[in-house]
Symmetry: C2
Subunit: 395 residues, 2 copies
């Protein structure tokens, strides 16, 4: 179904909030061209030859430096493995942690790509419901103590698909639950660089012992998704297993791409670039929220993200997101219904809306159409309900 939806979104007449693409305006083609020219300009054979599985050392050093400035975290480049986007890190973690039937704790709604990657290794998923402050800690605590999951996979900053960020207090509670267990926490921070406002919240790497947290990062949202570069950061023993799995998977990540990225990071002001991305995405998010406040019926609720790329919308019962998808598509608007983000078939009242890829005009037009469709759908459900229970209503 997802594939079908994403194919639909390629039609030029469709206004799509279904995908998860960065705004192409922030793909710095000219900057990448310059970096590529410099990397390849010195008759640099090493840029095309086989390279080490761990990844290009100067790039790993840059990432370690970024951890120092962002999290105040001291990371050795030897604890970092370059992967093909964080998707490959998820696949590698599934491979080294999950034996068939192993319990895994995951957010609900959870990241679709993680569900896909882990599912290959046949775990038993234990979903932990997300609220506005983060995962339900009493549920997490119960799962951790009774099921003993091999890991808890979490996106604490601007989660995909919900857009929520864990509060600092919730992080501390989670850290306390995890630290009393054998469970490892995987912190996927794909959107951490895209926090629009407010203080930076603490990484779990500052709240838990180093060997209990695996950090994932990605250049997809701040540089280029098509170049497929992300990383996995873990203490040596885990990293060794990950490197062995990486080697068996594809030997190493594209070395030319790694060198171009590294050169780009040296020669460009990535923080200024990130600021521009954040400013645009924040404006689009805010526009979308304002339109929803103004145009949507009160029964529809939604998250109010302060970062990332997504808003999560919850329909009132008995509306179905899959049905809403069909009705919106008839108006040439694409949305992503929520079920694929759940491991237990739930989620058909949830909808993921992406605000990074459409410009303000398209957002305004698309949300206006979507609001109309939602209103009509709700009216129709009410009529259906009143038709189904005429006796009650006559009383």
């Amino acid at each position: 179904m997802i594939r079908e939806i994403l194919k639909v979104t390629e039609r030029p007449d469709i206004i799509s909030f279904a995908g998860g693409l960065p705004d192409p305006a922030f793909l710095d083609v000219a900057g990448v061209a310059r970096a590529a020219g410099e990397v390849l300009g010195k008759d640099n054979c090493a840029a095309l030859q086989y390279a080490t599985s761990e990844g290009f050392l100067p790039l790993r050093e840059w990432i370690a430096g970024r951890y120092r400035t962002r999290f105040g975290l001291s990371v050795d480049p030897g604890e970092i493995l370059i992967t093909n986007g964080s998707q490959q890190a998820l696949d590698i973690l599934g491979r080294i942690f999950i034996d068939e039937g192993d319990p895994v704790a995951i957010e609900a709604p959870g990241y679709l790509g993680a569900i896909q990657a882990f599912s290959q290794y046949l775990p038993v998923f234990h979903p932990v419901l997300l609220g506005p402050e983060g995962p339900d800690t009493s549920e997490l605590s119960r799962i951790v103590s009774t099921e003993g999951p091999v890991f808890f996979y979490a996106i604490p900053n601007s989660q995909n698909p919900s857009g929520i960020s864990y509060s600092t207090r919730r992080r501390e509670e989670i850290a306390s639950i995890i630290s009393d267990s054998e469970t490892v926490l995987i912190e996927d921070d794909a959107y951490g660089e895209l926090q629009f406002t407010g203080d930076r919240r603490p990484s779990f790497s500052r709240l838990l012992p180093r060997d209990r947290v695996i950090l994932l990062g990605s250049f997809s949202k701040i540089f280029s998704p098509g170049m497929r570069l992300g990383w996995l950061c873990a203490e040596r023993e885990i990293l060794d297993h990950a490197v062995t799995a990486k080697q068996a998977s594809d030997l190493h990540s594209n070395i030319l791409a790694q060198r171009i990225l590294h050169r780009y990071l040296l020669c460009n002001d990535i923080d200024a670039h990130i600021s521009r991305i954040k400013k645009t995405y924040a404006a689009r998010c805010s526009l979308m929220l304002n339109l929803m406040d103004e145009l949507f019926p009160g029964e529809v609720s939604y998250t109010r993200p302060d970062g990332g790329m997504f808003i999560w919308l919850t329909l009132p019962s008995p509306l179905s997101a899959t049905e809403l998808y069909r009705r919106a598509l008839a108006e040439n608007v694409a949305i992503l219904p929520g079920t694929p983000f759940y491991t237990n078939g739930a989620g058909d009242r949830g909808v993921r809306l992406n605000f990074s890829n459409a410009d303000e005009e398209k957002i305004t037009e698309g949300m206006t159409r979507l609001a109309r469709v939602v209103h009509a759908y709700i009216r129709e459900c009410r009529k259906g309900q009143s038709r189904r229970r005429p006796e009650k209503e006559q009383k």
Copy 2:
């Protein structure tokens, strides 16, 4: 051990025949720089954005065209998946074909990267001994009929590590064994473009029904190994499974790299480039064989490849390749002992020698030293044997 050996080969004082690197002189950095400039020169955002899991369509069309000219094979681009080198294709095939305990037939000696990739999925390997004409068909026939392997993994052209190519007759015998079974044949053709002399031998895709053969190819040996681009070609049903596995692994291969490669193939004479590579490698192979004929003791046997990058050497009993590796290293020459190419612990009389990466001067010097080491080692073994059986010798 392999990792330790490959680390050693990075030392500048070492003459290495241990690796499997192309000659850096054939990494066309200037050509890639031009192609990158053209791809990125048109403010082409698509070169940096998310792309389809199947791979860049024009590149898949180019590969289909190549099958037409090389094998006379009509392939639809929809039957081709772009992978991160053929290593990722091996990982994907392991993932979709092997459940724990499944039988798999593999050449002995077999390609190390395939053994690593498949081993992750815990198959039971059934090695088929290679002779000068190809795999032992009576052994293959027995394995196929009694064990029912899910696939037979084969490198019919200039095999890694042995350097042998299957004769046409042997291919026909194998095809007849496979066609009477449920076993799929995986033809890994990483070295097929590097056949130095003689007629092209038929691909299994011409000897078996299309749904019984999976073809793997790679740009590593003719373009760039560091850019990690290869492919998997199979009928639709298998390809669909492979695409799903690819998506869960890392979404898609680096799209910038795919576009650069495609541009390179359009704007350069790849056949002339391949001719230059073949001419150089053929000269090195022949030099190495001549030196071995001249300098090595008669008890040492070796293959006489007509393509690829490797010669396989067999030591007389009771010599150990691992011990020879240690002794050669003391003379600053690196070789690769044979055990990692066997799934059953055998192979310590085998040595893989690479002839593509060292120039003629280094080959001459390195082989001279290696010959000296081999002679000394054999002399020492003889002395040891005579010391151990003095009574016999006195008779």
